[in-house]
């Protein structure tokens, strides 16, 4: 059909395509735009023609520019109105991990943000206006508001929660190690080791299923000087893993398994079997418990020896013996404790006196209060001896009249363990001791007796309080504890006693005062322990009983809290009962972090940077036998025989502590056979923990 073509004129060249307006070409009302006006419209869109004006049109360029401006205005409008009104869900850079999302689920969104972001105010506008103030509470502090129970707040931002001193030690110990793998080329961390924000490792807003604790091997090693490629080839070797030389209970596995258990038979006569699970039983979660109780594991064999050793006395007060001239100065001093200097002020007495302003007098005595070594020709030593004697007497009176705990209130301020020690000491026992030893017609006169020093600093009851009206102090009182010695009375339930009571009044038959000290046999008379008066030594002492004796525990805790060079600490911890406890409870003689009853699973031990779960390992038949991995060291000779009562000294304990254990360490290659990248995994965090 293309029989002809038609040629159309060329387009005009006098138009302005980039101008905002162009000629409408509607002059004369023809609507014919074939002829553009050569003048064209003005910039503001007004026709320049002096004839019949037309209506200029917007160019496509102008329309496009207007459209872009409209888009910009709409975008900014949405942004600003959203920021102003969009209180909820305005910022959502990514879903929170499930644990945090669950905790914050009940809060308004803005509040949820503020839980972690200090700058989050009540509206999104506050985020913009808060600026970048460095003094604001840091985000890590917000983390610690919830997580302060799992780590100390003061070390929360320190690498591995170690103190600066510990970090310096670690750095020094690894200074000589050089990396051998390509990892040494990785950059150093982007933060200081003493200012590690929680978010450095725990990155939020990565989705509900994202792990907050996952770290790559490279991330773990970025701070470490010794970097390596993988576990199997160049991971640093270890020495004693998984055994610690600071186990809280010193248990000799070797001797128990090879010597003691084979020869032991149960009640049915069957030979006992050394079974690991007897002590390390599985808990509810299937993990092995760290330890069982004394009653389950130890008491059957060790009760007798332990009772014997803890039954050794622990003196609270012992009256020293003074020379005759001194007793006249002191006044009202028992004749049984008169003649020559003798006796030693015990550690507990010294502690109580130290806190009651007798430090100077104690220091003046030779040998930490050893009266034997007092020189009678030295007036200064004699005066100190007299002062201490008066102080001991005042202490006895104070405990007798006020009670042991109120009388030791000043000591308890610094040493709260004293309250636990004296909790079971009855005031009547101290009253009885004071009456027997000092035989004072009036307690008040004894207290007010002239002495070489200023009046006692013990707050004993005043003379008015202790007047004859007081029942306990009155000679005419009916208290049999004072007027009649109950120990000399016959058992009121016995037949003889019943016969006497029928004929004679008991009070007439009883002596008014104790004529001579009673022989008290605590072993026979107090088999379960307790406080007692030892008249032969003029002492108030404590007899412990077996395992977990509260007074002995408190005494050890008290001593452990004292400084290393303190003689009270040395004497308390060196006493027989204390040594009996510390032999098994290693670390009880150290201050801080010690627990008498270690609990929890064996896999997760507080203070270690490693973790281990037996469960997946025990699924392998070859590993089901504990002894496959935990092989005992046959050459171990570090055990202490508990049956050898009183033979172990503190130096023995210190010698053995921290140097031996009775297992052969598990070597790295034993783990590396399975723990490779393609098998059981060799990520750092598979075995290591960042937080202790």
């Amino acid at each position: 059909m293309r029989r002809d073509d038609i040629e159309l004129p060329s387009a005009p060249t006098n138009d302005r395509p980039n101008a905002s307006y162009r000629c409408g070409a509607t002059c004369s009302g023809t609507g014919n735009i074939s002829r553009y006006c050569p003048l064209g419209p003005t910039v503001s869109g007004i026709c320049r023609s002096d004839k019949e004006s037309c209506k200029p049109e917007r160019t496509s360029t102008s329309i496009a520019s207007n459209f872009k401006r409209a888009l910009l205005v709409i975008g900014l409008f949405v942004l600003i109105t959203g920021a102003y009104f969009g209180k909820q869900d305005f910022f959502k850079p990514g879903a929170l991990s499930t644990p945090h999302a669950q905790i914050l689920a009940g809060k308004m969104t803005s509040d949820s943000c503020a839980a972690c972001h200090p700058k989050a105010g009540n509206s999104p506008v506050a985020w913009f206006l808060s600026g970048h103030d460095a003094n604001e509470t840091l985000q890590s502090d917000r983390c610690m508001d919830c997580h302060h129970t799992t780590m100390p707040r003061e070390f929360a931002r320190s690498a591995h929660n170690l103190s600066a001193e510990e970090l310096a030690q670690v750095r020094e110990s690894t200074a000589s190690i050089k990396s051998v793998s390509w990892n040494r080329w990785l950059p150093r961390p982007e933060f200081n080791e003493t200012n590690v924000a929680c978010s450095a490792c725990h990155r939020e807003h990565a989705g509900a299923n994202a792990s907050l604790t996952s770290l790559s091997n490279e991330q773990c090693q970025t701070c470490h000087q010794n970097r390596f490629t993988d576990f199997a080839t160049d991971h640093p070797s270890w020495n004693n893993w998984p055994y610690s030389t600071n186990e809280p209970i010193a248990f000799d596995h070797l001797s128990h398994s090879q010597r003691h258990f084979p020869g032991t038979r149960d009640a049915k006569g069957i030979e006992e079997k050394f079974d690991c699970l007897q002590c390390h039983a599985k808990n509810d979660t299937g993990e092995f418990t760290r330890i069982t109780t004394y009653e389950v594991a130890c008491s059957r064999c060790h009760d007798k020896a332990l009772n014997q050793r803890t039954g050794e006395r622990l003196d609270l007060v012992v009256l020293p013996s003074l020379i005759e001239p001194d007793t006249k100065v002191v006044g009202n001093w028992p004749p049984e404790a008169t003649g020559f200097y003798d006796g030693k002020v015990g550690p507990l007495t010294r502690l109580l006196l130290t806190r009651n302003d007798y430090s100077a007098a104690l220091a003046a005595l030779p040998g930490n209060g050893d009266f034997v070594r007092v020189n009678p020709n030295d007036p200064h030593q004699r005066q100190s001896a007299e002062t201490i004697a008066v102080a001991i007497r005042d202490l006895v009176f104070a405990m007798a009249t006020q009670g042991p705990i109120p009388a030791s209130a000043r000591t308890q301020v610094e040493h709260p363990e004293v309250r636990e020690i004296l909790k079971g000491l009855p005031p009547q026992l101290m009253w009885d001791a004071s009456q027997r030893w000092f035989r004072s017609p009036r307690l008040t006169s004894a207290i007010n007796a002239p002495g070489p020093q200023s009046p006692s600093s013990f707050k004993v009851a005043s003379a008015r309080d202790l007047s004859p009206k007081h029942e306990l102090l009155s000679d005419q009182g009916k208290d049999p504890l004072e007027s009649e010695d109950p120990l000399k009375m016959e058992d009121p339930l016995s037949e003889k006693s019943n016969r006497v009571s029928d004929s004679l009044p008991v009070s007439k038959e009883m002596p008014s005062r104790l004529a001579a000290p009673l022989e008290h046999d605590p072993v026979a008379m107090q088999p379960d322990g307790g406080w007692y008066i030892d008249d032969s030594r003029m002492a108030v002492s404590y007899r412990g009983h077996g395992h977990a004796d509260p007074v002995l525990k408190a005494a050890i805790e008290l001593a452990a809290g004292l400084s290393e060079d303190n003689s009270i600490r040395r004497e308390l911890l060196g006493s027989g009962p204390a040594l009996a406890c510390i032999e098994c409870h290693r670390g009880a003689n150290t201050s801080g972090g010690f627990t008498w009853e270690p609990s929890g699973s064996i896999e997760r031990i507080k203070g270690r940077f490693t973790k281990f779960s037996h469960l997946p390992h025990m699924n392998l038949p070859s590993l089901a036998d504990c002894k496959y991995c935990h092989r005992m060291n046959d050459e171990f000779r570090g055990g202490i025989e508990l049956n050898q009562a009183t033979t172990v000294s503190m130096s023995d304990l210190n010698r053995h502590a921290g140097t031996h254990h009775d297992f052969e360490p598990i070597a790295r290659h034993a783990c590396a056979s399975c723990h490779t990248a393609n098998a059981a995994g060799d990520a750092c965090i598979k075995c290591h923990l960042y937080h202790r």
Partner: protein, 257 residues
């Protein structure tokens, strides 16, 4: 690719050193977005010797592709939640998608436009349309007074003139088609055997004008797409950059606090 590889190595190093990889990728992304906007500035500063627009366009395309990769590393989800990050991510995705469409257009449109004999400027399409309309009207007025004239005159008034005077339908802009042209030419061809030679000559001119109008429509549709794409892509890019700057300000403010 080398730049992207180097950037990924840097990102890995920062992540391995427990640094803020999101900051690294975010700053990179913001710099890229601002850089991508500069091509618009270059087009307006024609007087400055700042390389050719073609070079700028190539850099713009590669930077855009790089930005998409950086965005994928930067965000935890392609479309974020929240009323601030949600629109921001949508804006990026739309601008990036329009960029890919622009890349497609820039590869196909020139070939399609040059396939037509005559190229016209977009702003002169109206003028060319009127030329065709006037030429058709003039051709019809020259028809001799024969019986065939009534036939062609009626066909012109009923079908050809409405087609030539019509504005471009939206459907045609989206999907250009020669359906109307073929139908008109087919009907004109069917009437041809009833026309005498003089009238047939005019009918031939009308057929040529119909083809020219169809070519013009095709030019119009393709250029409209290009124009609309540029407006949308450039307009949203400006909004995106402003939104991203606010996002960066907030992100720096929240860093470690």
């Amino acid at each position: 690719m080398l730049v992207l590889l180097a950037w990924l190595v840097g990102a890995y190093a920062i992540q391995a050193s427990l640094g803020h990889q999101a900051m690294y990728s975010g700053v990179t992304l913001l710099v890229c977005l601002i850089g991508l906007l500069l091509i618009g500035l270059r087009k307006r500063l024609t007087m400055l010797p700042l390389l050719s627009v073609s070079t700028w366009l190539q850099v713009h395309i590669y930077t855009g592709l790089f930005s998409v990769a950086v965005y994928a590393v930067h965000v935890p989800a392609i479309i974020a939640g929240g009323r601030f990050e949600g629109p921001l991510s949508c804006l990026f995705v739309i601008v990036a998608a329009s960029g890919f469409y622009g890349l497609y257009l820039s590869r196909t449109a020139p070939r399609r436009l040059t396939a037509i004999a005559k190229q016209v400027r977009y702003d002169q399409i109206d003028w060319h349309q009127n030329q065709i309309v006037n030429a058709a009207a003039n051709a019809v007025t020259t028809l001799p007074d024969t019986p065939a004239r009534a036939i062609l005159q009626a066909f012109y008034e009923q079908s050809i003139s409405p087609y030539l005077n019509s504005s471009l339908p939206l459907a045609y802009r989206v999907c250009p088609t020669g359906f109307y042209k073929r139908r008109l030419l087919s009907r004109l061809s069917e009437a041809d055997r009833y026309l005498d030679p003089t009238v047939a000559m005019v009918a031939g001119k009308l057929a040529a004008l119909i083809r020219q109008r169809d070519d013009l429509n095709y030019q119009h549709a393709i250029q409209f797409r290009l124009r609309a794409w540029v407006i949308l892509h450039a307009g949203l890019s400006v909004v995106l950059v402003i939104w991203a700057i606010v996002h960066a300000y907030l992100a720096f403010g929240m860093l470690g606090s």
